[in-house]
């Protein structure tokens, strides 16, 4: 070990002390606490707390409401997947093909991403408003009165309504990531295909998309992980209603823990969510390792 290394080594302790204390106190310790909490019957401050082992987890399995929350979470994931990825791919493809007005389109399409989630959620609540919202008035204006409805008040459309709002808000991120992925595809390949007489569409489907697949599969995992934790839009827009049709794992957990004061049961749910996320992350990081984004 040379002198420089030895000098540097002395930095380790002072440099890492504060980050480690913070992470330990506000991440590691609470997480361990969360696990142990999930094996008690903790019900709030003034109750005695008993160790109940895996009872909360057994209750979860038997809980119909939790099961429907899991299904709703999967519904949310499925619905958004069907809309989000094709749309993001199309817009990314389109953005590459605009020259003069690209910066305007980028600004207009990406702008929602900087809005706070709750602002975007409240905004969409009003876009769907049956009395003065935009959607219904536009439908009426084009002669489609039959389709108007209280979008978020109708169990059959509420989840779709939320998904559209989420995509409107978040699509910019996915477009940027897809573009970053496209950026790494050697230009020559597209050009060669073009010169050989392939149409835009052929270049896209036969060259770009297959080469993009490793990136897309990573984004897919990322979206799954985010979907499992979806909360803010639902909490703001429908709070799980109408009739539980948009109740997902996170909103159910939050309701149990902070409205029902069932902290232990909520913790058990949080741990289940963590396990799902961790398992998918580990599978995903395998993909990520073979295909790292940048740096």
């Amino acid at each position: 070990m040379n002198n420089v290394d030895r000098q540097r080594r002395r930095l380790a302790l002072p440099f890492l002390a504060l980050p480690c204390v913070l992470l330990g106190a506000l991440f590691v310790f609470p997480f361990v606490q969360s696990i142990s909490m999930s094996m008690t019957d903790w019900f709030g401050t003034f109750q005695t707390t008993n160790w109940v082992g895996l009872q909360n987890y057994r209750d979860l399995i038997a809980d119909d409401l939790f099961r429907s929350a899991v299904l709703n979470t999967l519904l949310y994931f499925g619905l958004s997947l069907v809309v989000l990825f094709p749309m993001a791919l199309f817009i990314a493809w389109a953005l590459l093909r605009t020259k003069r007005s690209r910066s305007f389109f980028q600004l207009a399409i990406f702008a929602p991403a900087v809005l706070s989630v709750s602002v975007a959620g409240v905004l969409w609540k009003f876009i769907y408003n049956p009395n003065f919202g935009i959607i219904n008035t536009v439908l009426e204006a084009v002669g489609l009165e039959a389709l108007t409805r209280p979008w978020l008040g109708d169990p059959s459309t509420a989840m779709l309504g939320i998904v559209i709002a989420v995509i409107w808000h978040g699509i910019a991120t996915w477009i940027i990531l897809i573009l970053a992925g496209m950026d790494r595809i050697p230009t020559e390949l597209n050009e060669a295909a073009s010169l050989d007489g392939a149409s835009n569409w052929q270049v896209y489907t036969r060259v770009t998309l297959p080469l993009l697949w490793p990136v897309l599969s990573t984004l897919l995992v990322l979206w799954f992980i985010q979907s499992m934790q979806t909360f803010a839009f639902i909490y703001v827009m429908t709070n799980g209603g109408p009739y539980g049709s948009t109740e997902v794992m996170a909103t159910y957990m939050y309701r149990m823990a902070f409205e029902g004061r069932m902290f232990a049961y909520g913790s058990a749910m949080a741990i289940v969510m963590t396990i799902i996320v961790l398992v998918i992350s580990l599978i995903g990081s395998r993909m990520l390792r073979s295909d790292r984004f940048d740096s």
Binding site: Q7, S116, S118, F132, A270
Partner: protein, 286 residues
Amino acid sequence: MTVSPLHGMTRNVRRHPLVFLALSTHALFNVLCLIWLLSTSLKGSAEIMATSPWAPPETPLWQNYADAWSIGQMGTYLLNSVVVTTISTAAVLILGSLSGYVFARVAFPGRNLLKAVFMAAMMIPPFALVVPLFDALSWASLLNTRTGLILVYVAMQLPLTTFILTSFHQTLPLELEESAAIEGASASQTFRRIVLPLTGPALTACGVVNVLHIWNEFIYALTFVQDDSVYTLAVGIFRLNQLADYSSNWAILFAGMVISVLPVLIVFAFFQRKFSSGIAQGALKF
């Protein structure tokens, strides 16, 4: 490292009419939303209910903005958001630089274990921590304080920032540090004068990601702050909406939304480039 996926692109591509149509529709929708928001914010609550959303306000009620600012407390919420986001981001960047550098450059016993802890922390969803953190903050009397939120946000963002900065530090040439050492600079001087300035681009990208995450954070702010003098914008607008649902006072809510939307849109228009490269970096969160 990708500088900017959107601007670095030079490609020979053919135009297509569909392209223009699709982008225009999407952009038009967003512009219409903004116009609708602005025009509605200048109407009275009764007028909002009674008239078509596309009708311009009968007489623009600028008073709505004054009311949103004072009665709706948007001024307070905006200030809270700015303070919390600025301090948290600054702290995360400083601490992340330190730990990122050590992880990249210094071999010490237990480094890999510690690194694994940082990595694992990135994968733990906020929900797994919200109950115990609530408990911890209440024990430390930090509920309903900006300090409490800042501490939580710093811890929340530190793993990702450290991770991005570690991989950036690894790309810097070692020779610079070695020659600085030969010239007699101490390790900490080398870090401050040579290494830190070189991490500028990575720090900007991390800054963008951190600002976006913290500005947007909802669950922790909702749970740990129950006092309206400490609300961030995210929670403030949500609570304002809850109030409006009971009182039908839409005017203040719409003006409040404009107040919370316009500043970020203007900032965004200026920093668009940094924004997209920042997001591309932040995708490493995994």
